[in-house]
């Protein structure tokens, strides 16, 4: 059994200092790894990343992150990445990491991802250079994600991204902005790459649960959606069948 904690869209900054850390105290008892699905900061400054790093510094399980659109706003993604990696967070962009969990291996491939839209209403690399650049960026990140997933030789594979890989988890958002919230190409990458679970954020008014076109689990872990500091998921150790031993979080089982 692999126990996954995940959260996105924390939008952290120094003005929120001290508000997250107390709610991560039991994460190490509840989960084997912690996934951060982008928009970790408000404006993408290293100062905001440092404030978040202070909150995360006592988390005792491996942490893996991707950046989101907010994290790019100050044009300092490398500086943000350095701050987070300084406390041991693996920050992925077209890359992957392998986390050993109780004798099994969990491979996590990550990308920010990008928009474009979904089947029947997706942009294409046609017309003005700006439109071509938009879709080329989206396609390129999806292709990198697929390549990373395919290259993983692990018991379980997880795809981590900021933008959504399917429209299911956008339910609740205005239809007009779907092309800015995700792209079906990410979903194709998840399916072709064989990920057991895809985790994303970005869609604050969306829905937590969905599936890719190929039937792979998708979870929108944006904090406004999950309504908690993080969400918890149990995956079977072989990436396939149900594990009946998946327990409730330790803090829930403890006497009141």
């Amino acid at each position: 059994m692999i126990r996954v904690a995940a959260a996105g869209d924390i939008h952290f900054a120094p003005d929120a200092a001290g508000t997250l850390k107390p709610h991560l105290e039991h994460l190490g008892e509840q989960a084997d790894l912690f996934l951060l699905a982008g928009d970790l900061t408000r404006l993408g400054t290293p100062e905001e990343a440092k404030a978040l790093a202070d909150e995360l510094s006592d988390v005792e399980v491996p942490m893996v992150a991707v950046l989101g659109n907010h994290d790019y706003h100050a044009d300092q993604p490398d500086e943000l990445t350095a701050v987070l990696e300084g406390i041991g967070v693996s920050v992925l962009e077209g890359t992957s990491v392998v986390v050993p969990v109780n004798g099994t291996t969990v491979g996590i491939a990550g990308t920010k991802g990008f928009g474009g839209g979904f089947v029947g209403a997706c942009g294409s690399e046609f017309g003005e250079p700006e439109m071509k650049a938009f879709m080329t960026h989206s396609r390129g990140l999806a292709e990198q994600l697929e390549a990373c997933l395919r290259a993983l030789d692990t018991d379980v594979k997880i795809a981590l991204m900021h933008y959504a890989p399917c429209a299911d988890t956008l339910t609740g958002e205005r239809l007009e902005i779907f092309p800015f919230l995700g792209c079906y190409l990410l979903g194709e990458a998840v399916d072709r790459g064989g990920a057991t679970l895809a985790v994303h954020g970005h869609a604050h008014r969306g829905t937590e649960r969905g599936l890719t076109a190929g039937g792979h689990h998708v979870r929108n872990v944006a904090q406004p959606v999950i309504g908690h500091a993080y969400a918890l998921y149990c995956l079977p150790s072989d990436g396939s069948t149900a594990d009946p031993e998946c327990p409730a979080p330790a803090s829930v089982m403890a006497p009141a």
């Binding site: 003005d15 508000t19 709610h23 500091a229 990436g239 396939s240 149900a242 998946c246």
Partner: protein, 93 residues
């Protein structure tokens, strides 16, 4: 051609205010819905702290003078830890 209708005017005003919230260097706030009804401006969406909620209201007030602001945004700070874990096994092979 005539000028914009009143509803088009309000739509443009609302969008200008939303853009100001996104581009304000103190905020970078994208998740705000502004609904104008009569003399009231209803704000919904999510912010991380109460200070940010207040700042959103201040920026909206600058752009929508004369409107009474109903600030119904949800504050996300101090979200609790989860009480359940979802089992994702079973159907996947």
């Amino acid at each position: 051609m005539t000028g914009m209708t009143e509803s088009e005017d309000l739509g443009a005003l609302t969008e200008e205010t939303r853009r100001a919230l996104a581009e304000d260097p103190r905020l970078g706030q994208l998740d705000v819905a502004i609904t104008l009804r009569g003399h009231r401006a209803l704000l919904t969406g999510h912010v991380v702290t109460r200070d940010r909620q207040d700042l959103v209201a201040a920026v909206v007030a600058e752009h929508l003078p004369g409107y009474e602001i109903d600030n119904a945004m949800t504050i996300l700070e101090n979200l609790p830890e989860p009480s359940v874990s979802e089992d994702l096994g079973g159907e996947h092979r």
